[in-house]
Amino acid sequence: MSSIILRGGLVVGELSAEVGDVLIVDGRIAAVGVVADVPVKSVEVDASGCWVGPGFVDLHTHLREPGREEAETIESGAAAGALGGFTALVAMPNTEPALDSVALVSYVLDRGARTPLDIAVAGAITRGRRGEMLAPLAEMAELGVRLFTDDGMGVQDPSLMRRALTYAKPLGVRLAQHCEDELLAGGGSMNEGAVSSRLGLVGRPALAEELMVLRDIELVRLTGGAVHFLHLSTKRSLEMVVSARNEGLPVTFEVAPHHFTLDETACGQFDPLFKVHPPLRPRRDVNALREAMRSGQVDAVATDHAPHAPELKDLPFDEAPAGMLGLEHAASLTFEALGSEDASPLRFFALLSRGPARIAQLRNSDLRIRHSGHGGALAAGEDANLVVFDTETRWTARSGELHSRATNSPYDGRELVGKVRATIAKGRLVVNEGVLV
């Protein structure tokens, strides 16, 4: 019998937070509150000054395996995730080859099961992510896949997207869309606006994102299929999806830390570290995203963690691949966006854990794929997937200290507040005192 006792943290339930202890015995939460009776040989974690809540769930992680193991592997990505407080990651399917079959999905699930975290998989919507023919969605759904996406690019063809939604609906799965109309985005490499115009870089207009958001909302209305909007980056996109959700349409959305932290001026020195799709937007959009997070409009924060080998990020801006790291800084940046010391712990865990766990259908354990439950209420009997987040520690992000294989973080040198102290994943203490156990 193994046991862990988390002492004296603010235990953040679904509706309220209270200072107390959490006792974990044999991979499950055994007691919450004032816990006096602790088994001998329990590992004790001092959680005073910390928030204790359900482990973070990332809806959007590029683990790069198979195909780009020089940038990240399932193992290295899981380590980075654990340090970032994540207990479950959804692996994106834009690997080489794309995760568009039972064999490939099984491969990633098997590799994932050997890591300390739960690695779920998002399957491709179309074969090879080519946007031409549907991938075997039903077969992959049988394996436990609950999200499908061609991320990296949206499904461009509206009739194919309509068909995918109609096909997916009875399977009880959700299509996650990267919204950018590539014809409008026109091969651009940053946000279209004053900065791109001055720099002579071809721009990706906000409209490229917003038109596809609008299109897909209408396709949801037509088909009844569910869509999760990935990394929305503009005020207008948020407004449209929030309004559709208020109408009762089955739509959800996530925002990414870089979009609510950095603006387009970061590209001013042509540093490809800041190249990402959808691109970094003007400050007014950044502020709108932060405001929506604080007011509880946002369903989830998702990292879009996108490792790239250093030589690729040394290419000229227009030739370099898009994407940046996110797993190890997402929680601190979310804390910052929520107002640091004024941040609401309930919102924080809603954005990083409970919201995304609901969207990925990871709240209950899934025996077929050996996944435990995530985003829980912190009640006795639940699977122990927990994080201890120290809200007081100030630290400086250093790209050289990351656990990803890649180093393409845009936050090097940034002062952060709040840091993951401990992560308990699948019942085991995997991070303690901020380092891997």
Partner: protein, 328 residues
Amino acid sequence: MIQTIRGQNLLSLDNVSREAIVEVLDTAESFVEVNRRSIKKVPALKGRVVASLFFEESTRTRLSFETAAKRLSADVLSLAVASSSVKKGESLRDTIATIDALGIDAVVMRHQSSGAALQVSRYVPHVHVINAGDGLHQHPTQGLLDAFTIRQVLAERMGASGVESGSELFHGLRILIVGDIRHSRVARSDIAAYVTLGAQVRVAAPGTLLPTDIENWPVTVVDSFDEALEWADVVGLLRLQRERGSGSFVPSLGEFTQTFGLTVERAKKLRPSAIIMHPGPMNRGVEIDSRVADLPEAVIERQVANGVPIRMAVLYLTVAGSKEEVVS
């Protein structure tokens, strides 16, 4: 804001002060005289090594820079790498590191990607990087030589000295830039130079060839090209960048010529003193009629000639960087 380019890089004219631009123009003036000598050489950069690194094809700019370097007695390492770094399989960082290992003082660089010169300057902070054109971004020596040419022509007409006039001749000068502003690094550098020097700049182009945020630029978009021709002291034409896909931004070259080409008919609306400029290479019959290009008011060849003293001045100021008298 860069107050002098002495000892610096020259990557863009976006952030260069009026004083710094005038300093380059004045320095170039002294090199004009060198180019008239029978022995066209000064020892200013003797023993210095200038690498010329053209990732994108160019004849005139490359020749102009290499001539300038040689007239300053610099050794020139010339590398033709007219293919994308990706296709070549070598990264920009490795290419520049290889050349740097040979021992160089400056690199003159042209690249098809905006920002490539700035990126290279981060890899070799001890080398002076001179941007000879990067994507759609900047072509600073073109902006300087265009400003130099305008000052030279105006000063000559007044029988005055360009150096003594400083930037005075630009105050209120009415400059009209016509054509593919959106895809033009020349336009970005020209506008920065002209506005910094005190000129009024208007632009004329089909909407699709204007930058999407033209309202943020320090220029006025003209309502009528024909009326603007009557207004202008200087008309700067731009090459229609067909190789950058600007062909698909207008229905046809013929229609572009009809609406925004400087035809013989339109040239008649110009004031008699108006200066006609083009950075070359010209698409004769597209943005400019052949007969207009050959008018005495067209200073296109003079622009080419002035490229050499301007690039001598830029190389001299960035590489030598000292305050001593330029031509002894």
